[in-house]
Symmetry: none
Subunit: 224 residues, 4 copies
């Protein structure tokens, strides 16, 4: 590490430096883009303004992305990666389907809350994406749905849940999480993420859990 690397240099080290710079630049661009996208939307966000906000030149941005749309994908991708990382991790190792679903839903809501702009983008800017970008997004939403629907199917099979259609319910849970971003203008006056999450979990529990097991999940249910 500390020894001289010679005139040709430590190739691996240079690669690492390069990768780190790329990471760093993309991070700059990502956070500047997130700010501007939430304020102005994709069409009104100018590359010029983005460059100023990120503290780099226009040319530099194009060294890291190929088109303006790539910047959108950068932001959307960021939240999707968070879903894939956080949601399964939260559900991991929990046997009881009710608790597992609750843990997954809570994790999902927390990711939405910490990436509100990105969560909205999928709804607001899908028309700004290419066909492939759009389809990838749908594909990933189906993937997330499956974490929930597997769990629901499991609960229905074991009798913890009343018989429901796992597809609608999982989609509805996803929607409820997104709702925190979509209706934040309305909900944030009354709730924070945690109270919102508990409130919706309460509804979900009452709707899904079989009567004979309801008492066991009182800790998930809000009593207003």
């Amino acid at each position: 590490m500390t020894q001289s690397d010679g005139p040709i240099g430590n190739l691996e080290g240079m690669e690492a430096v390069r990768a780190a710079r790329i990471e760093w630049r993309l991070g700059q661009i990502l956070s500047a883009a997130t700010k501007l996208l939430s304020e102005q939307g994709f069409q009104k966000m100018l590359i010029t303004d983005l460059a100023r906000e990120a503290g780099v030149s226009v040319g530099t941005i194009y060294q890291y992305v190929n088109t303006k749309e790539d910047i959108l994908l950068l932001v959307v991708n960021d939240i999707i990666e968070s879903y894939r990382r956080e949601v399964p991790a939260a559900m991991e190792g929990i046997e009881d389907p009710v608790e597992r679903l609750a843990a997954g839903f809570s994790a999902y809501c927390l990711v939405v809350d910490s990436h509100r702009t990105g969560a909205l983008l999928a709804y607001q800017e899908s028309k700004s994406m290419s066909r492939v970008g759009r389809e990838r997004l749908m594909q990933l939403e189906v993937e997330t749905n499956s974490y929930f629907s597997d769990c629901i199917r499991d609960g229905v099979r074991t009798g913890k849940f009343v018989p429901v259609d796992p597809a609608v319910v999982s989609a509805t849970l996803t929607m409820m999480a997104h709702m925190w971003a979509l209706k934040h203008w309305y909900l944030s006056a009354m709730f924070d993420v945690n109270s919102y999450t508990r409130n919706q979990l309460s509804l979900i529990t009452k709707a899904l859990v079989a009567v004979e097991f309801q008492n066991g999940y009182a800790h998930l249910v809000d009593h207003i």
Copy 2:
């Protein structure tokens, strides 16, 4: 109708003709815009293409709207008017809060289904609207929510509903109706509007109706 109109002409009649023409033209523009907006989004919809699609000239469009944004408002307004017309009408005269809520929700879903493009626009193109257009939209959503929340509060008071927060629940119902448009790409493979509506009503009923009354609403509940 049968009397002579005199030399100056039938002024009232001329006004009526004018109003009818305006109505007709706006209808042409509205349906052409609805088509193009759903295909391409607001930014990519060119006035030139809209004119061709509507079968009129560019100049004619600008005789009926002042800016491109007005065309967006035209479409959004159309669905909003449908909500205001259909939802209260469907709830009118129904005493029982559960039945009333179900009727309102069903009506809402049907309106969404028949105006899917317009329903999406509020989510996709809000950044293309002026501040006033956006605020008007929020205002009207709050209004629709109140139809539901009044009903829920009523049900909670009379003990038909378990205690819930009317604000979240009504917002969630609205969201569930919008969900039919937002996730149509996913849901339409499994459901039509009616089965979707019943499915969600089934969840809602289980979540909201107090246990001792659940049996009375079996007709609202899907048994898969």
Copy 3:
């Protein structure tokens, strides 16, 4: 005149009526155009606004003129006709070249004053005219110049005037009259037409009249 004209009508009378109507309509258009042109200029004057101002429909205007430019020519022509009518009439029958020139200049200034808008138009809107319109204007200005230059030549020949170039001087007199319109924003705070005219005549007299005749024209000279 008073007898019935039968079904075919009095053709001559009808012609007269038609001519009178044309006259009347052109008068309406002329005065509306004069107003709007002075307020907004040619390019910003819309035919639609002109129609409203004149109290007729757009179509009616086009029944009396062929193009928008014709409306400009209408106004310009109006002032030119006034020059041709008033200036020679004022100079008519005056023998003395100094008095004749003074009479012509005064008449010219009065016409400019009563048609200020039209007088400006030749300077402001020449680029809005076709080549022929522009050339006709120049031609007519040369004609007016000649009233003055003939008179000056006459005065120089008889020794009343010092030797000067009739072309520059006559053009300068024309310019001084136009100046009342061109610099009205500046001059009107200090003068009315008459005092302005006397002031300029005073200068002209001192510049042109031979010293030995100066005393005879004291009535033309302002003593401040």
Copy 4:
């Protein structure tokens, strides 16, 4: 110049380069605009054509001006700056009011001659300017007038000039200089700037200078 500039570069030098480029570009645009404006007028001059004439792209023009009107102001400003530079400089240090006035007038005529298009623009395109542009123009004409009127007042006080109204006379002198541009189509067939200037100076001298001093300014007076 010779010292090393260090890693950050010569910031002052970069600023200077930038300023020089702006100067150069504005010069390109100015001369192209002057040409097209004189040929076609403001309304008919297209930005597209201007770009071609200037040898740059449309986008580049908009990097140096904000609106089409700014281009007009660029040209008008150019001549106004010349007046302010040349006229006082020419009058500077000349004691005798007659000689001083003659020097100022000559300088003014030369500026008009070398910027004929710009001089016309103030008359032709004032309606194309914003209120502030127009008012600035008037303000600056009043300023130029004051160079002359101060001089005239001086001459009247010392008895070199006959009593005249300095305001009208100075305005008339300004007008006479502008006249070389306004009536160039007529005057250029007979004169060049110098002979025109002498001719008018000759008139002015005869009109203003008191009889007892006239002989001293024979060199200003044309004897045809």
